[in-house]
């Protein structure tokens, strides 16, 4: 099956067309175009203040674009008020009605569309079951836990079976363990209901876990929109590379070779080799981006085309893995990761040990900007 975003004939469910939103002279969203397809679980990822919430609020109808248009199922929704859109939103603060029970919160939207009583009751029960809240139906929001409140907010926004569900940092208020559980639940619910989800997050792990595609934003613009593995393995810029997970960025000047480039990067250090399809001119400024887990660490000089030598400056022990910070003679610090498949007392390297680092020609990504 072809992913819809790679299929030129696929019709998007949502289409942002050159959308700009300014608050006074401040550009919160800057000439942004984006297609999102049916049944997608699309994650908007970016640092705080980059315009993610503003983008969602334009989809929900709480903000109007300053220019450009937003299409939902091929219809321009810009003039449609929020209460007439087939879009529902789960708010960052949950925005549960404190004077209504869990049941009435979930039934709120259905009552507004005058759904017949019997049908309403069965729909609310269905939502309660889906989010495992049956036992809490009669409680008020302040009488349940944070995780339960989050599920009420989800059930309430799903109850009307919207074409599109918007989630603004839905797990921001949960602790890490609960967040991970909830992420899987969310994916499960998305698959069960077949609703298109657009989720906003500033947590890259969350985006990677739940999304079919991730859009990385910076200062009101989309920097890269790809599937999570592509974003992680083939970032298109140093910004995306350093936003997702840990990465080593080595700056230098490129020399084109038959299959890629060689990088001249520091005095007294050997050239680094990298396979790439990107064309660099001779002497062009270039970054090599290498994930720490793709760098091997050795006691003796290894057989490899890319190798450097240094001393262990620091070890970050994370239980399952350790990150070694290795300082080269040139002053660069390179991070290398190993899995801790032995007990810590039998670890091979320790502080101030002299070590070799190596990686393959395909491990690094060459970035022009």
């Amino acid at each position: 099956m072809v992913d819809p975003w790679n299929d030129p004939d696929a019709k998007p469910l949502i289409s942002f067309q050159n959308v700009t939103k300014s608050f006074g002279s401040f550009l919160a969203v800057d000439n942004l175009s984006l297609d999102i397809f049916e049944k997608e679980f699309f994650a908007l990822l970016g640092p705080s203040g980059c315009g993610k919430t503003t983008l969602l609020r334009m989809l929900a109808g709480f903000e109007a674009p300053t220019s450009g248009s937003i299409l939902l199922a091929n219809r321009d929704i810009t003039p449609i008020p929020p209460n007439k859109r087939t879009v529902n939103m789960m708010f960052q603060s949950y925005a549960l009605f404190p004077h209504l029970s869990v049941y009435d919160n979930i039934a709120f939207g259905l009552r507004r569309q005058k759904m017949p009583k019997a049908q309403l009751a069965s729909r609310v029960d269905e939502m309660l079951t889906l989010t495992r809240l049956e036992r809490f139906a009669n409680r008020r929001p302040h009488q349940i836990s944070g995780g339960q409140r989050q599920r009420v907010a989800l059930a309430r926004s799903l109850a009307k079976a919207p074409k599109l569900l918007l989630l603004d940092e839905p797990m921001g208020a949960l602790d890490k363990k609960l967040r991970q559980e909830t992420q899987f639940e969310l994916v499960d619910i998305q698959e069960k209901t077949g609703t298109t989800f657009v989720i906003v997050t500033h947590d890259q792990e969350e985006a990677m876990t739940v999304a079919t595609r991730v859009g990385v934003m910076n200062e009101g613009q989309l920097v890269q929109v790809e599937a999570p593995d592509v974003i992680y393995e083939n970032p298109n810029s140093t910004y995306v590379a350093s936003f997702l997970g840990q990465i080593n960025l080595i700056e230098g000047r490129a020399t084109p070779t038959a299959s890629g480039i060689d990088l001249v990067w520091a005095e007294g250090q050997p050239r680094l080799h990298c396979k790439t399809d990107v064309v660099f001119s001779s002497g062009q400024r270039c970054h090599l981006a290498i994930r720490p887990e793709k760098i091997m660490i050795h006691a003796e000089e290894p057989e490899s085309r890319n190798k450097v030598c240094g001393t262990v400056l620091d070890i970050a022990y994370l239980g399952n893995i350790s990150t070694y910070h290795v300082e080269l003679i040139s002053g660069h610090v390179i991070k290398a990761q190993t899995t801790n498949d032995r007990r810590i007392s039998r670890r091979s390297f320790t502080w101030d040990d002299s070590v070799w680092l190596s990686w393959t020609d395909t491990a690094a990504v060459a970035l022009a900007n």
């Binding site: 709480f62 008020p81 929020p82 209460n83 879009v87 939103m89 925005a95 009605f97 404190p98 709120f108």
Partner: protein
């Protein structure tokens, strides 16, 4: 021990400032008027011991309460007071809610100033402010001057010494008591609740009735009680602005007390007034309790 005092303090307060004075007034209401100091009999003489006490008790009776029923002035005054209190509470709510709403939705940096403006009238004596309304509402007053100058009316309106003047005075005086609790409850409200309501299919207007009003309910009820209770026994405003044909129980109480010097009858009027006030308070509390139980779990 410290805990005991903490819990006992409000009860002590209630005892000293409400129950003891109430029993003194209640005792006087069971006495008979007399030309003496104090102007009623019997007086309890502590020196005579038990016989004195029983003699004192046998002289007390409910005659004054009976008298309240024989003269229709009293129940008419009670009813008229109730009617004025209910209507003016409603009117004050009608005026006060939009003010509180506007304040709560104003930019945060303006709110302290607006709050100050609401409280500002308290810095002038209540009596002087009510007198000032005579100058505004009288036939030659500012109101008529302005209306005639702008040719909206030809001949002056008679407002002073009518029930309208009383309502104006009450709304003006008690407005802060309505505005402040409603403002407090509206200001706390999370505005994303309204967006959530809209998102789920509400129009702006129905979001107001379904979300804003229920969340301001506690403030509305508190404001209504803070206006209703003092207005029921109000005396200054009807005396100064209402003229002779505005009948209110507070005025009757005043006349019995100072003009007729009939302390026992005046006390009986006061006791009945208190009972009239306690009934809605109890009803209100029972309603609250029921609601909390219904929410239960």
């Amino acid at each position: 021990m410290g805990r005991f005092f903490l819990i006992a303090t409000p009860y002590f307060w209630l005892l000293a400032l409400f129950l003891v004075p109430f029993f003194i007034v209640f005792k006087i209401s069971l006495s008979d008027p007399d030309i003496a100091i104090p102007p009623y009999v019997p007086n309890l003489n502590w020196n005579e011991g038990w016989p004195g006490l029983s003699d004192f008790l046998t002289q007390l009776d409910f005659e004054n309460f009976g008298f309240l029923l024989t003269d229709d002035l009293y129940w008419k005054a009670y009813l008229s007071s109730l009617r004025i209190a209910v209507l003016s509470t409603f009117l004050t709510l009608l005026v006060g809610f939009p003010i509180a709403y506007g304040m709560a939705r104003a930019e945060p940096r303006w709110r302290p100033t607006l709050l100050l403006l609401i409280i500002l009238p308290f810095w002038t004596s209540f009596l002087i402010r009510v007198y000032a309304w005579i100058g505004i509402l009288s036939t030659e007053g500012y109101l008529n001057q302005v209306l005639q100058f702008t040719r909206i009316i030809e001949s002056p309106l008679t407002v002073l010494n009518t029930p309208t003047a009383v309502y104006i005075g009450i709304i003006y005086t008690y407005l802060p008591f309505m505005v402040l609790p409603i403002y407090a409850s509206l200001e706390r409200m999370d505005l994303s609740l309204l967006e959530a309501a809209e998102d789920l299919g509400c129009s702006r207007i129905s979001a107001f009735w379904l979300i804003t009003v229920p969340l301001a309910r506690a403030g509305i009820i508190a404001g209504c009680f803070l206006v209703f209770i003092p207005v029921l026994g109000e005396i200054v405003i009807p005396s100064l602005l209402g003229g002779s044909d505005t009948l209110m129980i507070g005025k009757v109480l005043w006349e019995e007390f100072f003009n007729n010097r009939d302390w026992p009858l005046a006390s009986a009027v006061a006791v009945v007034l208190l009972i009239v006030l306690i009934i809605p308070i109890i009803l209100f509390q029972r309603n609250e309790l029921k609601q909390r139980e219904a929410e239960g779990s």
